[in-house]
Symmetry: C2
Subunit: 137 residues, 2 copies
DNA sequence: TCTCTGTTAGGAACAATTCCTATTAAGGAG
DNA sequence: CTCCTTAATAGGAATTGTTCCTAACAGAGA
């Protein structure tokens, strides 16, 4: 009796696959709540994390906002817009492994690292230009 | 009338400098609250962020926990213990700049990136070994 | 089918942070 | 120096994001 198949878990998985990428737990909850008013937030959070730990979906931790979930399993990096906080994928040449570059371990056993890029998306750039133009007159 | 000097701001700055590195806003609050029971949490959060944006202290954003604040301004990276969530400094050879390695911008203007290393600290390693030894008998 | 076991659901509780409004520091006028 | 005006600030209320707790229930075996 290891893992039970519940309607809720299946619903959460389908929602991640249906919605666009990089959704928050809150967005999944809102989406499911429309069709299934009795589903709880705790259920959504728990199942998202279980699915992520089983490797069925990918969890993207954002330092200054809620975690995002993504149905793609392929390894890739993310950029967060510093203005609207939208997250998108980054295409990057293979990185050199950073772990061997670490000196002075202080006994710490290094396991990996997260990289999150920061930037300004196209529409926020346009808005910023618009605001500058208004400020100029 | 741009920036006001308040007792609270000075207290927050002194607290960051007095306490050991990588303290959370909560820890600063607790520390100050002992001497100054009427200081509010909002005040601590706001002043930490103001001081960080002015460059007087450094803010370290942690994806799976509260932000940390550090009095050192020197550029360096951090490791978080995946077990006890303690944060410490990493000594690393200079990294190649990652921004030129990005392909396919999709109109995004890249500004920088955060790297957070993950690992297991010495005392958590010892505890893990101890638990294994107990499980073996 | 019935019982037993341990996973799960849902909402309550908690933690981290932001927001709102009365207060107050700073600057200028008298 | 004192009063007045203005906008930054303080403190706590409110909000947001996530975890925890207990009753409910899925699945396995008798």
């Amino acid at each position: 009796m290891e893992r039970r198949n519940t309607i809720q878990r299946e619903l959460v998985l389908q929602a991640v696959r249906t919605l666009k990428r990089h959704v928050t737990a809150e967005e999944i909850f809102e989406f499911l709540h429309q069709q299934h008013p009795y589903i709880g937030k705790g259920t959504v959070y728990r199942n998202l994390n279980i699915l992520a730990s089983e490797g069925e979906i990918r969890k993207v931790e954002i330092s200054d906002g809620p975690d995002r979930f993504d149905f793609t399993l392929k390894e890739h990096y993310h950029v967060e817009c510093i203005c609207c906080h939208d997250v998108s994928d980054v295409d990057l040449e293979a990185l050199p492994d950073l772990i061997p570059r670490i000196h002075d371990h202080h006994g710490m056993k290094f396991m990996g690292y997260d990289i999150l890029f920061k930037g300004l998306c196209e529409s926020c750039q346009r808005e910023a230009e618009l605001r500058e133009a208004v400020a100029d007159d």
